[in-house]
Symmetry: C2
Subunit: 360 residues, 2 copies
Amino acid sequence: MLTKINVSLESRSYPIYIGDGILTDSKLILTAIHSNQVVIVTDSNVANFHLKAVKQHFSKNECHTFILSPGEESKNFVELERLLSFMLENNINRNATLIALGGGVVGDLAGFAAASYQRGISYVQMPTTLLAQVDSSVGGKTAINLPLGKNMVGAFYQPQAVFIDTSTLKTLPNREFNSGMAEVVKYGLINDADFLDWIGANVLNILAQNGDTLNYLIQRSCENKAKIVSADEQERGIRATLNLGHTFGHAIETALGYGKWLHGEAVAAGIMMALFMSWKLGFLHKGQIKEIKLLLTQFSLPTEAPQQITPEQFIALMSKDKKNIDGSIRLVLLKNFGDAFVTNDYLKEILLETVENHAY
Amino acid sequence: MLTKINVSLESRSYPIYIGDGILTDSKLILTAIHSNQVVIVTDSNVANFHLKAVKQHFSKNECHTFILSPGEESKNFVELERLLSFMLENNINRNATLIALGGGVVGDLAGFAAASYQRGISYVQMPTTLLAQVDSSVGGKTAINLPLGKNMVGAFYQPQAVFIDTSTLKTLPNREFNSGMAEVVKYGLINDADFLDWIGANVLNILAQNGDTLNYLIQRSCENKAKIVSADEQERGIRATLNLGHTFGHAIETALGYGKWLHGEAVAAGIMMALFMSWKLGFLHKGQIKEIKLLLTQFSLPTEAPQQITPEQFIALMSKDKKNIDGSIRLVLLKNFGDAFVTNDYLKEILLETVENHAY
């Protein structure tokens, strides 16, 4: 079964295809790629499993492959320049298409390379992790990290298409799969309370990676993301709610050193902190926090921040968040399940208590 | 006298202001800058002359200054990351405005930093060289260099405004002033034969940097540039004609090492090569080539490529040009003065003869 979801952005609109085995479907892939020159960017793990299948579509093209080391540590200026220089050495021109085959790190870095090489060439996303499939491959946010902050350099730059092959999850380590579930739970929390109920009712099927269950889970996540991105491409408003748990989570990732915790793990702990703070501000009841803690725990996700990060570190790192506009830290909080809002209107003591209090 | 030219690009439209002393005009400058946080990017030469005047407008703002080493060698990944990290260290947020105060190197690098910091913040151009005033500060092309090619990484990203203070030319070295004249002559050649006549008739006034003459020269150059950019922001067609002489010129700059020749010097030699090749293809007569050679010589500009660059080097470097789309080198040539076109339809021998033949 092939599902198609449209990201509606006028001349920058594009399809998301979801299906089992679609990375081997030449006819489908070639609907989005018309270039003679193709550059596949991937990492050494993903290359082992999927590179051959993707390369075969381009036997009549000039096809180049660039392989990164796996992990968040690769999402930096050194690797970006190495990729761009590789492209120039190979005389890649503006009509070329870049393919991001892999997880969020590959997609974010390759997407920014596509955005900036010769001031912009086409690219498509072929996400192979759950996290990339439900979140980072959709919506055109591309970025690399600076030592002081995650995703601080990048572009809003939409792909030509996203191909989500659910069969790639079979080779994904459990820890990576669970990391993606943090972003899935996030959609329920910010925008789609019915979906949150569905996740809670389907935990065992999800953990068993039942095909139909995964298909629906990815589809509904992408529908949520596509709707929000279509309404607010450049994050002037509602798109910021997709950052639930991320202000805390990015601080955790940066404080520990990129790659120590997976992105979704940091987001899971960050979500718990955002729920705690929402509760302290009078919006949620304690039972809702416990419910989400249990849900995240079922996916083996952390529900509190690492003890070694001090409150001062949290505040310093969160002060560099992209949502901040006037010296105060803006946070995504919940009024209720399915109802997120962005605010900097809170007592500083409550934020301090949140980053001090490690068990919710 | 204050001249205002509009670059018409729908929601990305912006004004170019031209006038003597306008960098000291707080009221005018603050029409374009509404941020509390301001980051001035400049180089150490320009800082000596103009930084104090610009800084004084921001006594009530949070104002940061970042100073580059002068010259093309600074337009690289190392300096870009240094600037972006400086901004993050200082908790610069998305509402900030970056000011590019200087020549083309400062404008290109700072513009790309504005395009990519937190996926895009506002910036304004305050060009202080003739080249930046008539060309690089207008039109939103931002970039840095790779070792293998000029301007190969960047973004189309428009400023909020351009402030051209003609009094800054008084402190500009003659060699820099003359470099800018190559781009001025270019407008005449590609699009505005009357302007070319005017330049020829006003060489002495231009060399004497007569105020009214310079004002008119900059204004007419900006009008030409604004018209072309408004018609074709992302260089799908006519904008490529602004590259007359640049395919050859970029190869010269890259082959010699960035900064050895000034950009306009390389463009001047490149223009002569493009004219020679146009003549070989039957479009110009010999007298027209001589006329431009004389004109460029009056501005002390080189009219032939450095002897040490081999034809093979030229071809290899030109093969990486951004205009190329199918493995052949696309060139901007002239049918006549004021009538440029882009082509890859020529005998390879004629290009070879052009890059072999060093005196035209």
